[in-house]
């Protein structure tokens, strides 16, 4: 398994997905060596984690898995060395490690997650004849907007998808992008939605301590609307901000929580002031752990405003904490849920209308909340793993036929 991050050294959903998938695969009998680019102590009894280099995990996850630009900028240090390295250097190092590994071990197949590891996957396929499964959690078209993105990443992504024996996409939306933008035949791609396993209830209690100000407002009848994620183009937050202003016009008792950080933060703050709603908008900055869970607990409505979202695990987290979900039609997670309000990312009127109606209608709120509770629990990582095993079997059969 070729990955880039694992919790707690992760910046987002990629690490979470890799961890849960590996755990469920191990339950089904898979013997996994999981390669990460950094050096850290991971203790999992169900797989071996191998470090490809002596990097500090924090400097990698702080700015790597989701960036498109600046991958050749020298900003990382390996171990005690003084030399500055770029993302490309780390990837090169990762490939060299995988090559050394393959000279000693012969895995049945290589399962590579996203473009960061595709070069290593291609190497295994090309030089060692090992079947390659490419797992697409996001494409460069998602990260960079549908027409932009880094050409070098496009190139790597394309080669990885072409060399792969089989591709797993996290949603139909992602599969469509792979087919339309990269010209990959659809029959080569299987869709396996991300799973959601109930977190252990013992390790989290909402005590209302993190956001007492908000608790006070809620008592006064305010509705809390939240969104969680990186403030980048992909997330469509300008549309959300404008819709917030329109909704507040009709229903003033609304507070919008923008949880996260990113390149658009300053612009978003200015925008909220220009729209005259800065009193109703709160920026939390980058948060994780209990503070993040508390966001889900305190909010009534969770919005996923993404212009393009391959899956969107945060929506399931929010649903688990009892939020009503409003999700763009361009988000993959919406494909597996029914009890949600869907809108096109540009349709600010519909979004605003949905927020007002949910805020003003206890019945709509409860129907959405109750419905979603029956839906998200059905999506389990064990099912995702079973799907992967199916793909593995196909790929191995393919291999036998050929040789």
């Amino acid at each position: 398994m070729l990955g880039w991050e694992l919790p707690p050294h992760n910046s987002g959903g990629l690490g979470v997905a890799c961890l849960h998938l590996s755990k469920s695969l191990a339950k089904l009998g898979a013997d996994i060596d999981f390669v990460v680019p950094y050096e850290a102590e991971h203790h999992f009894d169900y797989m071996n984690v191998l470090s490809a280099g002596h990097f500090d995990p924090e400097q990698i996850y702080r700015g790597s898995a989701y960036i498109s630009a600046g991958i050749e900028k020298k900003r990382f240090k390996e171990g005690a060395s003084e030399e500055m390295l770029s993302m490309r250097d780390i990837q090169k190092n990762y490939c060299e490690f995988v090559e050394r590994y393959l000279m000693e071990f012969k895995p049945d197949l290589v399962h590579a997650h996203d473009w960061l590891t595709y070069e290593a996957g291609i190497l295994a396929k090309k030089n060692f004849g090992i079947p390659l499964v490419a797992h697409v959690h996001a494409t460069e078209f998602d990260r960079g907007g549908l027409d932009g993105g880094n050409p070098l990443i496009h190139q790597i992504e394309y080669e990885g998808l072409v060399w792969a024996d089989k591709i797993i996409a996290v949603s139909q939306a992602t599969k469509n992008i792979i087919v339309e933008k990269y010209g990959i035949p659809p029959e080569k791609i299987d869709v396996a939605y991300n799973g959601f396993d109930l977190p252990n209830v013992d390790d989290y209690h909402y005590d209302g301590s993190s956001y007492q100000y908000l608790e006070g407002l809620k008592k006064k009848g305010y509705t809390v609307v939240s969104t969680v994620g990186r403030f980048t183009l992909q997330k469509g937050l300008f549309h959300l901000m404008r819709a917030a202003a329109r909704a507040i016009q009709i229903h003033p008792k609304m507070i919008f929580l923008f949880a996260g950080d990113g390149e658009q933060k300053d612009q978003l703050m200015r925008m909220s002031a220009d729209l005259g709603i800065s009193q109703n908008v709160i920026f939390t900055g980058f948060i994780r752990g209990k503070q993040l869970r508390d966001i889900y607990s305190i909010s009534d409505i969770f919005v996923m405003s993404s212009v393009s979202e391959p899956f969107g695990l945060t929506a399931l987290e929010a649903a688990h904490h009892g939020n009503a979900l409003v999700i763009t039609k361009q988000s993959g997670v919406g494909e597996v849920l029914q009890s949600i309000v869907r809108y096109d990312f540009w349709d600010e009127d519909k979004l605003a209308g949905a927020l007002v109606n949910i805020a003003e209608s206890p019945a709509l709120t409860h129907t959405l909340q109750d419905g979603i509770r029956h839906e998200y629990t059905r999506i389990s990582w064990d099912d995702v793993a079973a799907k992967c095993i199916q793909v593995y079997d196909e790929v191995s059969k393919h291999k036998r036929n050929r040789f």
Binding site: R246, I250, Q338, S339, I340, V341, R342, D349, K350, A352, G353, A354, V356, N357, S361, P362, A363, L364, H366, T367, L368, G371, I372, H374, E375, R378
Partner: protein
Amino acid sequence: MKSIVLYLHMHQPYRVKHYSIFSVGHDHDYWIDKDWYTGANNERVFKKVAEKSYRPMLERLEKLIKTTDKFKLSLSMTGVFLEQAEEWAPDVIESIQRLVETGRVEIVAETYNHSLSFFVDRDEFEEEVKLHQKKIRELFNYETKVFRNTELAYNNDLAHWANDYGFKGIIAEGWDKILENRTPNKVYRPDGCDRIKLLMKNYRLSDDIAFRFSNKNWSEWPLTVDKYLRWLDAAGARGPIINLFMDFETFGENVWKDTGIFDFFDDLVRRWNDRDDCGFMTVSEACDSSDGAGTVSMPWTVTWADTERDLSAWLGNSMQHEALKAIYDLKDDVLASKDEELIMDWRRLLTSDHLYYMCTKHLNDGGVHHYFSPYDSPFDAFLYFMNAVRDVRGRAEEYKNPKDKNSKEAKQIAE
């Protein structure tokens, strides 16, 4: 003598267009969707169904009446159906007029708006029945004698109401739990009523045509006229009338022409007609044919919908209850305005289909749900409906407080 009592129901709601919350206060048109291709475009839907079902089926009915000696049937048309037909397919009205003129077609009474008013507001309900009778008189010069309620929603109270109102008959679902071991193929009397008769739908034989005819997974598929005649004979052995009640749109819209449904119907009617001991009756004739084989009591409400045969497709979740309350709460203010357009718009929002589109049954079973809707989801249906309710409320409040510039809606107009 065995008689088929065929009754077909015609209805199209005025669907609420994708009506934005930002239209509230200045756009009072909820029905005309500018986008021709949305499922909520009433004109497009009506014209499509007219082409696929109303015209070809009416033509066949007319021909059957002319070319057979016994065939007759009963029809009902909601007021909102008739309004749309007048606007977008006036030839459909003319066809029905010709049918009625033959004297072999009976028109059945119902609520003008296909509403659930009986269960919410008895005065409004009666008003809608009267409006419907008036419309039928105007268009067809016809006096209705038998009543059906929206979705065949029926209980003892309704039977008593219809009895006192003066109807000679009423129609209900022949649900086993009510009939127990009795056959639906006889005329009954509602418990405690002195004059009115009760006709109960033979749902097995009706649904064989309406729901199962085109289902290739059905063990009896394909349904031939020979086979169906055998079933009719078996039913006829248990009682003299066979009540086949279904949506008119079964023919051509719900079941497409290429399944052979039209030819099946045609052939069936002709062969039944040609038998000496077989005939047809309208619902009134059926009511007059017997003093009643016994009484039937339905303390709770039974409909012809779903396996539950109840109102849960319309009032199964809290959104539906909230929407129902929101619209009926406006009654006094709307009626007090005496603004005919406002009253008409309000009544169109009473149509039960709006609630049906908000149904969430089976939504999260993980299976495909079977509830046809012009909207992407039940939640969208609720959003657009409630936005329209907001606008109606604003219009009604303007009559109430003409100088109130501080109301939410007035503020929006000012912007």
